[in-house]
Symmetry: C2
Subunit: 223 residues, 2 copies
């Protein structure tokens, strides 16, 4: 069976979990504790990155971008990149990239990496300045979600797309830590409520990491 | 006419210059001095990143990944992603990503960013430790190029592909600074000599940045 090596609070892993569900593909999940630096894992993912998808024929696909484009090409229906117009698809990729790179660097890395991953990877104590930066930056990104979703039904156009998946993957990690100030961002919250109600996203809401429980509203569809 | 906003030593800009030439597309280039933080540019590229391609209809496409996938979809011939098998294409994207992300972080950021970009962006003096790390890490990546090119004609298979373009874009920036120890890496040098002889790469070899001239071998096809 198709296998996804992942970590619970890795946003790229969450993105591929949602995509596989959207495309109706069966898979099993295996937690890869990166901090154990398993040699067998480095053979699957020479760059050492997560997630890694092992296809049914045994071929390994490392990295969220490689997996995303592969899934779109091998299983085009339903498409998460929008219609057939390359410019529409470029807009989906642009917004997805915003969350994959800019949001991750400015928010997720400052909060999830500092508070959780550093502990596991033994990289020292969390830096207070990074955590403050993450809490400050998230407002500006939630405003961007509001701006987009006031102009479009979903973040990159009329349809739920990779852009929504990318944004939800970042935000669901932060929401697990109780780090999203939803109460100050009504429009972003409305968009996220619609995302949470999708069947492809609900498995994420059932995640429970041993020793690190989410706040009560995490799985609540009416939060 | 199609316009590419770029910077001379930005590896992503170099990648798109090669791709446009490989696809036989005409374009003009405009230098975007990121350190001037032009408001008009931020309207073209909300994330502030280079390169940005303005298509003939005026639509702007920001970021090397968005532009790369757009060019492949809008102008599929010749393809730089290999054939039609999604697994072959995944291998091209995997190797390209290695150079776009891992090589850039471990080598290019430590050398080009520290020695050149920091000066323009007024981010302070170069850090000696970063420069040492860049010089140490490059050997390991040149060994990887040798390993791949001993097993395949080009880095991701039988054909020149996005993987070769990605690697060449990083290395040509470093070569401009005289920072590639070719003399210790014969197999990587042979691969790069083949890359340099491609018509799509030759315009890069004619680059001359005012006040920062490349070493004599930079444009030499028989270096």
């Amino acid at each position: 069976m198709r296998t996804l090596y992942h970590l619970w609070l890795d946003s790229g892993s969450r993105k591929i979990r949602i995509l596989l569900k959207e495309k109706g593909l069966d898979f099993q999940m295996k937690v890869e504790k990166l901090w154990e630096r398993r040699e067998e894992f480095l053979r699957l993912s020479p760059s050492g990155e997560l997630p890694v998808l092992i296809e049914e024929n045994g071929i390994s696909l490392p990295g969220q971008n490689v997996i995303t484009e592969y899934l779109e090409e091998a299983f085009p229906e339903p498409s998460l990149l929008g219609g057939s117009d390359p410019l529409d698809r470029a807009e989906v990729r642009r917004v997805a990239q915003w969350f994959d790179v800019k949001f991750r660097q400015e928010v997720t890395d400052n909060l999830v990496e500092e508070k959780v991953m550093k502990r596991f990877l033994r990289l020292g104590a969390p830096e207070a300045a990074a955590i403050r930066a993450g809490h400050a930056n998230i407002h500006y990104h939630l405003d961007y979600i509001a701006w987009l979703s006031e102009r479009r039904k979903w973040l990159a156009g009329d349809h739920f797309s990779l852009a929504d998946v990318a944004a939800a993957s970042q935000l669901s990690c932060l929401d697990y830590l109780g780090d999203v100030p939803w109460e100050k961002h009504e429009a972003a919250k409305d968009w996220y409520a619609r995302v949470k109600s999708r069947p492809s996203v609900q498995p994420l809401l059932a995640d429970r990491i041993p020793g690190l429980l989410p706040p009560a509203h995490y799985a609540d569809l009416d939060f």
